[in-house]
Symmetry: C2
Subunit: 400 residues, 2 copies
Amino acid sequence: MIEHKFNDDAAVIAFVRRHTRLFAEDAVLKVSEIGDGNINFVYRVAEPGGASVIVKQALPYVRIIGEGWPLSLDRNRIEAEALVLEAEHAGDWVPEVYHYEQPLAAIIMQDVGDHQNLRHALIARRHLPQLAEHLGLFMARTLFHTSDMRLDAHQKKDLVKRFINPDLCKITEDLFFIDPFCDHERNAINPPLLPVAQALWQDDLLKAEVAELKYAFLNRAEALLHGDLHSGSIFVTENSTKVIDPEFAYFGPIGFDVGSLIGNLLLNWCGQHRLAGDEAEREAWRDWLLVQLEKLWHHFSQEFGRLMREDTRDPSLQNEHWQQRRLLHIWHDSLGFAGTELIRRTIGLAHVADLDMIEDEQQRAQAEAMALHLGRELIMERTRISSMEGLVDLICQLND
Amino acid sequence: MIEHKFNDDAAVIAFVRRHTRLFAEDAVLKVSEIGDGNINFVYRVAEPGGASVIVKQALPYVRIIGEGWPLSLDRNRIEAEALVLEAEHAGDWVPEVYHYEQPLAAIIMQDVGDHQNLRHALIARRHLPQLAEHLGLFMARTLFHTSDMRLDAHQKKDLVKRFINPDLCKITEDLFFIDPFCDHERNAINPPLLPVAQALWQDDLLKAEVAELKYAFLNRAEALLHGDLHSGSIFVTENSTKVIDPEFAYFGPIGFDVGSLIGNLLLNWCGQHRLAGDEAEREAWRDWLLVQLEKLWHHFSQEFGRLMREDTRDPSLQNEHWQQRRLLHIWHDSLGFAGTELIRRTIGLAHVADLDMIEDEQQRAQAEAMALHLGRELIMERTRISSMEGLVDLICQLND
């Protein structure tokens, strides 16, 4: 029995009416529970044919695992505060927060239900002309404005303290950096793929690089990350992109967000190797994905570079040589974290539909082996891949 | 008017009597204010011929600058908590804390008045056979045990939060990484040295490396640092070493503590080039200093390496390749931070007696130029100096 949980639809509606003025007093409201995530309840409150709003409520444990894996409700505060902070710098690309109520661990926010989940859109090979630009700018602006380049010493440290997020970080620390690299009971491995996974578990040099990435995740409080920037956290239309669910937000290495996104585009690229549909169409789509990858990095790096040049406050960080090198470090980190995302989504606990929807086990294993191989290459070679061209070359070699 | 400040000696004595049982009820106690630091009052309470104790009280501003540079009293809590934490792992080498009282911003602690300040000991060329071992072990144990190698995810983040220390970090951020690399009003420069300083201010490649070190200082929460580990924070006898004053403690890059200490030994090495006394004796002393440098790194790296191998809890950080690489990173960082210490102590606000006691302005400028040159080399070449031998070679070349 969770005391703060809404008992029924009427409680959800009353909560929304108390804290917003979105609905007329005589409007008849309908509540549906739409949460497909793992650790929260998500309600849509809608007037049929009219306005609608989302209520997200956190429970004190991981929903799919149960009370055996407790999770602090503080993540709900962190999500609300992160959304508000992101909106300051990238308001076009996050849902608006209308209200946050700590005792209920509940947020009322804009409904983006007219958007499609990006993972489903990518699986359906839906061309999204503005996606890469929106996400590149979203990351550049949210990350730059919460970094030491922009914030003064006190502001930054106050924010670091507010966003210390041990429960959610622990999930990433385990699921990204431990489980997939050993024979862990939480892993879920397609049987034909087992030998490939076993080879990874023996690979001490790979594990040394993964340790370095984990150490960066644990230690490097560079900027306020979204912290869970996979395709399932993004909703899209032709002209609009909304990034939701920043409950994993904390101060970490900038490349973690960028790498998560790169990794998710590449997971789709691997999956499309064997997903259903016409082969020529799938191959054309995979080429489109690589173009999006280039555009994503282009928009991110151009905007982040511009912000560093124009808006860095700390005089000692205004040095141009250093700023160029910083961008290169972010690139290398991004490739490494993209690699860990590819691997953990293939053999770890939380899979992605981009691979899981390949029905035939053997065909799925081919796409999965590609994801593992690419993941390993990205981690091992990240500091030797100096540009996007180098990355695309590596990817194309893998495809041959 | 500072409300919490002790009004008179009787108030200090009453405070000590209230919170310790060190003195008999009829003991006649004497108070002397012995603070030679810049930001606190330090009282010795002693029974003549008997026991004694130290009371350290923080004021809400920098003592030598005045109310124009306010400083949070929270540093006093941080100092008390850091001393207690250090004592858990390196109790031989820190003064014992008897009491901390938040409303008074005052700590009662062990008196190490039978020890000599290490800076004075080094200037006097006093051989200290156990110094390098004590300090190497002190750093290895305090730093390892507060790192992610040892602490679990929640413990580490709780501590990071407790030791967020913006006011004191800001002092370092400015005095180490900004002032000495530009024509700042806070700098204090020996007139004949001005052209050398001006050349530094034009050196964009150097400033790029300093930016990288500052970024590490700002972002990398690797372990609980002492944060101000210079010769003046260390007290010594032939067989005993006590590290005091951790009010700058915060979670930062491990190499910052190690580098501060290396930098201070090298400042003395530079000063002894031109300090008073017999030249042969000074040169022999400088050789002894280089041996101490080797021993310091030897003891630190052996102990830190042993702790990583034997006591790392996180399975993903138990990788041997990674642990070796981590130690090399700490070495490179240490050299870089040693370089910034050399430079900021020579032309920044806070000088050291190792150089300032050279009476003749021209002679002093020679030793100071050596410190600046060595500092620059350490910063620029740090990732190319792969061992202690490489460092000693570099230093000896400089001396020719």
